[in-house]
Symmetry: D2
Subunit: 349 residues, 4 copies
């Protein structure tokens, strides 16, 4: 990640700012309240209720507020699988590429499947499972214990409702839990032409997390379990993974605010709107888009010379080299990006 | 933990409030700044520098900002020990009693030693090690890979400088790292008659953490490694344990403020001062103190009838039954406790 | 363990010899047969059938042949418990004292209960569970996920049928699996006055292993699961723990022979008979028995001078010092101990 | 694996028979000897000395006798790497394909590299490491903590001395241990044109294991550490992985015999000679060889019809389908395969 200082424009990622002002205001307001620890406070209850309602889930669905995405991925995957089960994922999936081996640190092999635009298809999953079950040596192979998907994907695309329903069908057929990593879920749900709602996600997934860190929260992710959990007590499970916060109300307050009056969607849409302006500008100025992303991350192919030039004024992510002379760059907006900064960025493209 | 609602007085624990106002003010002030993720921001650097200075450590000492005590204990213990090494601790030690098995979850047996007033003596540690090394079956036993102590202890006592130096001597003799869990370190350092400074701790321990969650931070603990680390890269190690925060500056800002103008000590002393008032009142009113605690937690033996009566107006912790008719209760102050609440509490004793 | 060479008498432990001659003869006989690997051979099937029959179990009970006791304990405990559950055991239990932390290496804390003559009582277990379930902090404590017992115990005693039935009752009440480590099971079942049969054990335990290494096998233990297993596929589970043998028929042949014509009981009784001669001699010669052991291990209190003298001619185990001048010694017989050696030993006492 | 019964010819794998007769004879001869447990016996010492001598290693090199290949891979990999380090391997490597996730079960991600004929080149390893070290996100990626290779490979090929020396050079440059899985090492060392000796392997690798299970032992593998070990005590480490045998002399006796008078090489050469006859016959009869294997496993492309026909009389491994009408089959010889069976097999091709 390339980061330079003053007067720079910042489009390197979506977790560079603090929290939406409603959240900070609330934290300030309740600062000297006496709250019970470890998630037994009223904000945790309120936020869980709002999320359950938004998801169309009843009280049996369990909602927990965790500190970050890796914490969410490792604790949820470990809760949904048996010892040493493997996890199926698109080969571009975050847990395979950028999770530092945290999933394997808990004993679960990450098994990669061919992907297209960051997505894995139901057919690919099914082909894998058919082949696995036919293999005479399957006792010596890693059991595919769950399917992990990201929404939106690492390259900014989103699954359609049909695609999710097809994945669910395969999961049902093979009695395999479906888990969605929603680190940027808001940006996916608010993307243009997205035909998936949070209720759909809740209906189709065994578990998912709603990302807060990248979508307006000071920190935190909301883990949602839509089916009864195998782990005896998720709080103990979480503590054994090092992730049980004493002041559980801090991430809970974030979600309590984000899920009041549709704030989560509003701020997500803001980021997507700005990203679409950037996308349009890139196209108009003749850049090749690396991916047809409909969310807050835009990927363009630029010459290395332009890349060097731009990096003097803009902080962005050099995603990958394409050839000796070209590089894919990533420009990310967030809930906190301003129209002014986008205008300046576009003028530099 | 017994917790009742409005008009109650709250002395149940020291993590019921948010953060010192300086911290919230700073978070508000920098909210829309663009900060680099994962601890590479300027606040992480500044706070680490201040802590190193306060500890009398040079730049080789590594300082990291984690989210909570369990995260700190599991990642530090796992970084200091070899695979499957055991951890020596007082039998009253937090990792043995109230860590949910998180240390064992990473493969390290917690080996308990007899304690006195929450402390383990150098002689006890040495006796254990002598016996272990004489045992003909020691290959079939858990290797004692480190010594874990708490400062202050779970019952509010603090090690003297002499006691710490003696523990260090045994650790040196047996080439065993010494790690201090400082969840409430401020309250220990600010306690009356404490002859230990942060510089002493840094000189005597291989690693320790300075507690923030219970001492004025919104959340976070500062892990300090005074000797070169065996683990290749603590950030990757931390991520593999699920504990690497994207917005690493959030806990860092807490410590940057706490270690400005001695704030950490000032707010700690406030809590200790109030606790000493409670202690004095308990003594004057004829209660038996369970422990001669010099820090923010006070322990008294009360009749079950009084306990019931008090719990209608005060939230406190029922520590343990003493006999059929008596219970030990714990009354904890914090950086945020008010003189007014202490006066009211004392009037009810 | 003290071991000296030629002309010595060997009573140090029960795993110093190879295998019963029937087993070696069979291994020789089938040496060039072509057998399928990984436990899918005919001897594994035959031995499992014989064991199921002897246990009064139907085909749903699963039987596996493992290489050793630690392998058995870690894989079975890990199969019966959830992630990070703790294991209840007598404080003298092998997994607590001499398993090198192998149970903790898989994340399970070993929780010790007070014992009497190596045994834990139903009342002690129940008291622990009652207290645990009343504890307001139980989310921060290790969940007691199973009960581990040894039969016979580490000090040679055996549970009565009534004691086992009482333990089962508590386990049922708390929905907690009961697992028996039967490293020396034969010596227990063949001990005088033992009112427990293999059928009783199979009826009362969720899982147990029948020890082979110490009871006539070249190597190997037979793991028996009397209830349906939670782990998806025990062979994969076993391989993930490093314990799946390519030539699975080697331990299986051992058990196939041991469970033919009651060989397992016959050779066990031989060892117990000889141990009873030693016990009688110890009593007659005025030694204090440390434990009223009814199995193949006998424990006596001797003066340190005698201990030194005896160790010049006999290899035995110095169990523990009693005081400055006395030591508890352990004398173990095995299926391979001869009457001649016992006579010589007795003449030296 | 397809296995049929009587009158069948067996070429399915190399672990279907017991042990070389010298080994069984020795086990019989010493059966009632009293041997010290856990690898402290004289056979363990003798076998280790012979192996060190054959390897040109001095007494500082550590040699241990384990029960099987998975045990060897997991304990050695875990001993050579730091917590959560990844392991580089050819994408065809056993630990990636057929180890059930046992390496990941101990927290180490298996990172696959492109291979050619089962081998990974120094250039491929270097390219990976150069790219890894340039990656700005490498803290979020799995650290490549060691290089794992197989000798011979899973498809019967062997590294040349030059290839091994080049791999060592890269490992030196990046301070990365090199570990060789020698499950079939004998068949590799005895293969035609192999220019590598055990001394070369010992000089170039940090650790390796000499396979016994597949090369004449009843069971067991000899782990050799040529450099000082980071783990404190390998026996305790081994026990924590469930793999410390009480009767450590059983695998040790196997290696003590195999490394007497070059038996290990003689019986390996026998298997390779027979395999070369099969290879020649396959070529002469016009079958396409899938791989130019020079060791005991031969791979041919056959029509599915012929495959069906052959499987009525020969047990072999159906390696993989090539297309709708053709399959790769594997024919394996072992130290115990007879000329007579090979002649019969050839007559059926």
């Amino acid at each position: 990640m390339i980061m330079k200082k003053t007067d720079m424009l910042y489009f390197a990622c979506d977790y560079m700012e603090g929290a939406h002002e409603n959240i900070l205001r609330k934290l300030l307001e309740i600062n000297l309240e006496k709250n019970t620890g470890y998630g037994f406070d009223k904000y945790s209850k309120s936020a869980a209720d709002k999320i359950r309602k938004e998801c169309g889930l009843n009280n049996q669905a369990e909602v927990y507020f965790l500190t970050g995405g890796t914490e969410a991925n490792t604790t949820i995957i470990d809760a949904l699988t048996m010892n040493h089960d493997g996890v199926l994922t698109a080969d571009s999936g975050h847990i395979s590429v950028h999770e530092s081996g945290a999933v394997e640190a808990y004993g679960h092999k990450v098994i990669t499947l061919e992907s297209n635009e960051g997505k894995v298809s139901a057919q690919t999953v099914k082909d894998f499972l058919v082949k696995f079950n036919l293999d005479a040596s399957k006792e010596h192979m890693v059991y595919p214990g769950m399917l992990y998907i990201t929404f939106p994907t690492e390259v900014g695309t989103v699954y359609s409702l049909k695609e999710l329903e097809d994945l669910r069908k395969v999961c049902d057929e093979y009695d395999m839990p479906l888990y969605m990593d929603g680190a940027r879920m808001g940006y996916g749900l608010s993307s243009y032409n997205c035909d998936v709602t949070l209720k759909d996600i809740a209906r189709l997934c065994d578990a998912f997390y709603i990302g807060g860190t990248k979508v307006g929260a000071l920190l935190g992710e909301a883990a949602v379990f839509t089916r009864p959990l195998k782990v005896r007590n998720f709080l103990t499970h979480l503590k054994c993974h090092g992730g049980l916060l004493a002041k559980g109300w801090v991430p809970a307050v974030c979600f309590d605010e984000l899920f009041t009056d549709g704030l989560y969607y509003k701020i997500s849409k803001h980021a997507v709107d700005l990203a679409m302006q950037i996308k349009e500008a890139l196209k108009q100025k003749g850049y090749k888009l690396y991916m047809n992303s409909t969310t807050n991350q835009q990927f363009a192919v630029v010459s290395n010379d332009f890349c060097d030039e731009l990096s003097k004024k803009v902080s962005f992510d050099m995603w990958a080299p394409i050839d000796d002379k070209h590089t894919i760059i990533r420009l990310a907006t967030s809930w906190a990006t301003t129209q002014e900064d986008v205008d300046k960025l576009i003028s530099l493209l």
